[in-house]
């Protein structure tokens, strides 16, 4: 599915340089990282034991999970360490518009989570 839907997330200043922050969008928890010259976004869950990647130490264009130090490439989502570490993290495109970070979500995929979100809201209302 090539169609994309851009979601405005937060002003750039809310993600300090070389750190990550988590955001819930629909049913997903996404980690956004500030690499100094650009922002990268991935699912906020390490393929190893679901550690919160947003809390990891950023090294170049990778993050090191705070739980067991798996190293995840933020551009590709691939596991860089340990060698042979299985799984991959989903990545999302980002862009900046007027000082705000936007994340591109697959349009169809979002609709499903939006529905879930809406029904959850309806229940709690």
């Amino acid at each position: 599915m090539s169609e994309q839907r851009w979601i405005r997330v937060t002003p750039c200043g809310n993600v300090p340089p070389r750190e990550g922050r988590a955001v819930r969008i629909g049913g997903r928890e996404i980690a956004i990282f500030n690499l100094g010259d650009r922002f990268l976004a991935t699912d906020n869950s390490c393929p190893h034991r679901s550690g919160p990647l947003c809390d990891g130490i950023v090294t170049g264009a990778a993050v090191v999970c705070p739980l067991h130090a798996w190293k995840i490439n933020l551009e590709t989502g691939a596991v860089e360490r340990p060698a042979g570490g299985e799984g991959c993290v989903r990545t999302y495109p980002t862009r900046i518009d007027d000082g705000v970070i936007l994340i591109g979500l697959p349009a169809g995929d979002v609709t499903g989570s939006e529905r879930a979100y809406a029904s959850a809201r309806a229940l709690s209302a």
């Binding site: 979601i7 405005r8 997330v9 937060t10 200043g13 809310n14 993600v15 300090p16 340089p17 070389r18 750190e19 922050r21 988590a22 955001v23 819930r24 969008i25 629909g26 956004i32 034991r49 679901s50 550690g51 919160p52 809390d55 990891g56 130490i57 950023v58 090294t59 170049g60 090191v64 705070p66 739980l67 130090a69 705000v100 979002v110 609709t111 989570s113 939006e114 529905r115 979100y117 809406a118």
Partner: protein
Amino acid sequence: MKRLVVVGNGMAGMACVEQILTYARRFEIAVFGDETHVNYNRIMLSSVLAGERTADDIVLNPLEWYRRNDITLRLGVRIVAVDSRLKTVTGDDGTVTPYDTLLLATGSSPWFPPIAGLDKESVFAFRTLDDTRELLSRSQRGTRAVVIGGGLLGLEAARGLQIQGCDVTVVHLLDTLMERQLDRRGGEYLSAKMESLGVRLLLGRQTTAIVGDASVTGLAFSDGSSVEADLVVVAAGIRPNVDLARKAGVHVNRGIVVNDRMETSDPDIFAVGECVEHNGVCYGLVAPLFEQGKVLAATITGNGGSAYAGTVQAAKLKIMGVDVFSAGDWSDGQGVEPVSYEDPALGIYKKLVLRDGRLAGVMLVGETSDSHRYMDWLRTGADLADRRRHLLFPPPADDVGLDAAEMADGATVCGCVGVTKGAIIAAIHERGVNTLSQLKECTRASTGCGSCTGLCQDLLRAVAPEFEEDAKKVICACVPFAEDKLREILRSQRLRSVQDVLEIYGNGVGCEVCKPALSYMLDMLWCGDHDEDRSARFINDRVHANIQKDGTFSVVPRIRGGVTNPDELRRIADVADKYKVRMVKITGSQRIDLLGIRKEDLPNVWADLGMPSGQAYTKGVRMVKTCVGTDFCRFGTQDSIAAGIEMESRFEQLYTPHKVKMGAVGCPRNCAEATVKDIGLVGVEGGWQVVVGGAAGKGVRKADLLTTVETTGAALEAAELFFQYYRENGNYLERTYDFVERLGIEKVRKETVYAPEPVRRALLDRLKKSKARARDAWLEGRAPKHPTQFIPLQPIDTVLA
């Protein structure tokens, strides 16, 4: 035996004497030096000024060496006259010394341009160890220092003074720096780098006067402008010292004229080093001195045959983080092909100049690791036809030994001392050399400017059967230095942020290993007065709680000495209810742990607890476990609760190389297990034993006795001494039990409780300074360091269909 008198105790003279000593002994040698120091490495003076080395570190030949070789050494005596007919020299102390052979190694002197006011106080040259010491004593934070001269020496002086805290301006006559070594473009790159370090540049200015009354207040320039100054360093060039030679009637042009055998016009007088002129060239760099010394030694000992053919001039700027290398002739002209590469963002500029398909000159700014390759091409005049595609970039190689393997045996590795690859391999095989320090001792390689150290290491690694790394383990590949070296660099270079360290001394990126280590070092070195970078710290230190396997956090409030009260316990219970804490646990260290707290609840949990952080999440002061001591226990001999609480109060909130767990017990029954803690106070009849380096973790280690004292005050002071000593000398993630084993308890005692009073005082002062800046981390709950430190982002677009 004949009498050889050497005038000049510098690098050239002594390098030549070293060579003479390799031949059969035929001289009684006397050396006169007008400086009061033994022979030292003059080209390293800039690193003494920069605080990277001490005066002792740059000694080349200690007094022992002169004694061992039966050399009569007269220091602080200047030879003022030579009588070449009677064959005597006269010192400024009136002594007359006869010679059969005279060796002039008089070097050169700073040249002072015609400027009014050079005689004022606070105007210095930068040539000798005494000059350096004087500059060090005059430079303080805020001193306005002006360096006249933007060549090698001037820039090195400028950076050194700046590191000492001065506000530094470099004034240069021409409009490009180091114009003898760099073209205009290269000069621009260098200017940008110097300015980024905070050195101010005034280019194209001719100084006409140094103004001020007795002391300097500023400089005036020919264009009518001026600059204020408290201190002036003149580094405008050098002139060969030829007065003595002239007095002796020896042929002199700009320098003392020598032929290819290093002979002067007088058959009994020889000259070597910066004072000589060979083929119309006077050299001011180190490599030619060694080459000349070798030839001269052969001539003078009657082992003639070798000839000096001049030296390919190469210059390297010795400023940490500013890499500049230049060699050969890079001037434009007919039949000359320039090949260049530049990357302004990285500050890299490389230019090769080819003539007839061979390298004629090279300049490198910002990246000089290939300099030995170019030097080799220059020296050998290699035909580069089949290497044209790889002139600036060697073909990629995974083989670390390839660089060394590509060199021929005759290729020079150490350009300063003139040691070939073949000579190094011979030393390794024939003399059992296995380490860099043995190699230095044996061949003198890498004892000059030090730029070939990496190549020497590579050769040793490739060839030596039992190669041993001299350097201690480096912290990580991002910043490849051993930790003690790194601490020294951070201190001397006054670096205060992790990112600066990585950019100047590392790969600019860093990783999860080096960043927290550097964070700790900076905090410790500057006693908390540094630019803390949260992104360089582990999540626990970003939010002051311990991350758990599900991404929630645990919270352990500080309960000093393990002593609490009903109020605190009620608040803890209320917090556990309010935040639905999944588990409340009494810890092994007499504390209470609240597990399963969400990051966004941390600030409110801390506020509701109303207790300071117990630092259970960090490499810092954890706790002091105590027994009930004399208050209640019928066996207690000391008030361990009061002592433990006091110790915890003194150390809490501070960071340490690894966690520090402590204990205080009132008698040797050791109910709070003080003898397996990092620091323990053990009450005995009439006093305390202070024990350190205990462990009850992966391994069990009984703590070593540091000292026995009579009062609680003295026990606490001993603990403070050890605590700060460990903070300053422990490697990151090194527990005290590894630290004490690595150093040995004798050394630890000697440098803490047995150290001289000023040393102990200084340790305690630095501890006090750190403590004065330390704050309870949980106060950040009310004043976060960053607006989204604890709370998750709220998306602007609500995602609704």
